[in-house]
Amino acid sequence: MPRSSRHLTTMSFFSIVGIALFVLESFIPMPLPFLKIGLANVSTLLALYTFGLTDVLIIVLIRVVAGSLLVGSIFSPGFLLAFAGGVSSALVMSALKRMTGDLFSIFGISLVGAFVHVIAQMFIVVLLFVQSTAVLILFPMLLSSALIGGTVVGWIAVRLHQILERMGSFIPRAF
């Protein structure tokens, strides 16, 4: 069934929010280049609570590709990391949400997504770039950043979701 124009507009809105956050985050200085809060995950989370998996993946792909184009990191190692992290965390978050129903709030889903994100990136780094397990020294730091990032992003997503729910008509519940 073709998507309605309203559906497509909402999808583009989520994509552009993701792109904006992706670019915004590249301006935030971090002590180490690979540490990130993962702000763009806010858009993935909200999309998860609005659309089905296919649409969420489309939104993630648009965000990663367009965001990397804007930041200038396209086809660099950073792009591959953002790609792998974004897609894998979207897949796992979607599966978790479907399997557990209302057990976790957006906050819990966000935390899991953040951890999957860094673990996937770690795999890519070890498999493709460094080929040495010495990178594992960075693992505790990455996990802490996932903990902090997942909490911050989860909190923002919970609040935004409440606001969007209150606006009601904005989020089309079913297509």
């Binding site: 906050f107 819990g108 935390l111 010495a134 594992l136 505790p140 996932a146 997942g150 919970v158």
Partner: protein, 124 residues
Amino acid sequence: MFRTLTVADKVLSLTLLGVTIAVFWGISSLATPGSFAIVMIGDQLAYKLPLDANKVVTAQGRIGDVTIEVRGGKVGVTRADCPNHVCVRTGWRSRGGEVIVCVPNHVWVKILSNDKPEIKGVTG
């Protein structure tokens, strides 16, 4: 905020916090012990000291002497002719990759390990 969190959320948060702390602890305890220390003066290798034999050596640095001591499997700078004694305050070190530097004297001690990192087994 806390009202919106479900019980599962809280359990999950605490679990992930625990996992992070456990990994922190696990990785640091897996760090390879050093097997010998090298003493460098500028880019010249001055001494190679096995960590399993107690020994005291003196390196002549740019502005004075630096005394390096191996004792009980650890290496440390015990005395140095330099204004700040940062190297002495670095204390005793024993893990592979650790470095003690006396900047004014251009003397530095690096701990090396012979064997591959044991961490190799963890990735799975």
